[in-house]
Symmetry: C2
Subunit: 107 residues, 2 copies
DNA sequence: CTTTCATTTCAATGATTCTTGAAATACCCT
DNA sequence: AGGGTATTTCAAGAATCATTGAAATGAAAG
């Protein structure tokens, strides 16, 4: 991944509403959740939730699928994985020191 | 780490100049690099480099130390590590699927 | 075919962030 | 002290981003 793309993805993550949406959709699992339910869950107006859902979808963090009347969103882990890989490998050159700074198990 | 802090840290990383500075300082290693050398290396004016160096320092990604006339900056991996941990553990609840999406070795 | 529900889009406004160049500060040397 | 180098700070303006509420779209159901 090129730095400009990474910067844009970080920009999408630099908002608490959007981080909150990601968390909610991780909890929701593979079945995902409708835009309305997400909006209620994060305490945002429909248009505000839609704005952030769109930013996340455009960036590739989410998949959107219409299910009759509702739009169902679900998480896609690939972009987050690519971003973590960028940070550790491209940006920090696989630094062992950085690995030690991550508190989860890293091989 | 609380979501608002993570959002702010992502905001700091959402800029190519700043990602570039991090890369340059990872390469520079523990001895770090002066503000002027960093500015030249990333092709930015002194004041622009200073603006971004300040953002990175305030966020805790960098350490600053005066060495006689020059200010020396060096990378601190702890914040990046904390951010990766937030993303994998807090935000994505340690998802095994996310781990599979990271191309480096994860235990 | 009109109504209703779910969601997005739009326009206006406010807030934040970035860039630039000039001025200020900090330090060193003679 | 005075002059030079390194860096930051500041003010102004441009650009980007977020919020709001109203209007538009899409899909189902009476």
């Amino acid at each position: 991944m090129v730095a400009e793309d990474a910067a844009n993805l970080f920009g999408v993550l630099s908002n608490t509403d959007r981080l909150c949406i990601i968390r909610v959709l991780v909890e929701a699992g593979p079945s995902g959740m409708s835009a309305g339910d997400i909006a209620r869950k994060i305490g945002a107006s429909p248009s505000r939730a839609s704005f952030h859902l769109n930013a996340l979808s455009e960036a590739g963090f989410l998949h959107r699928e219409r299910q009759s009347r509702t739009l169902n969103y679900r998480i896609d882990f690939n972009r987050i994985g690519a971003l973590i890989t960028f940070l550790m490998e491209d940006c920090c050159k696989g630094s062992a020191e950085l690995r030690n700074c991550c508190s989860m198990r890293l091989g």
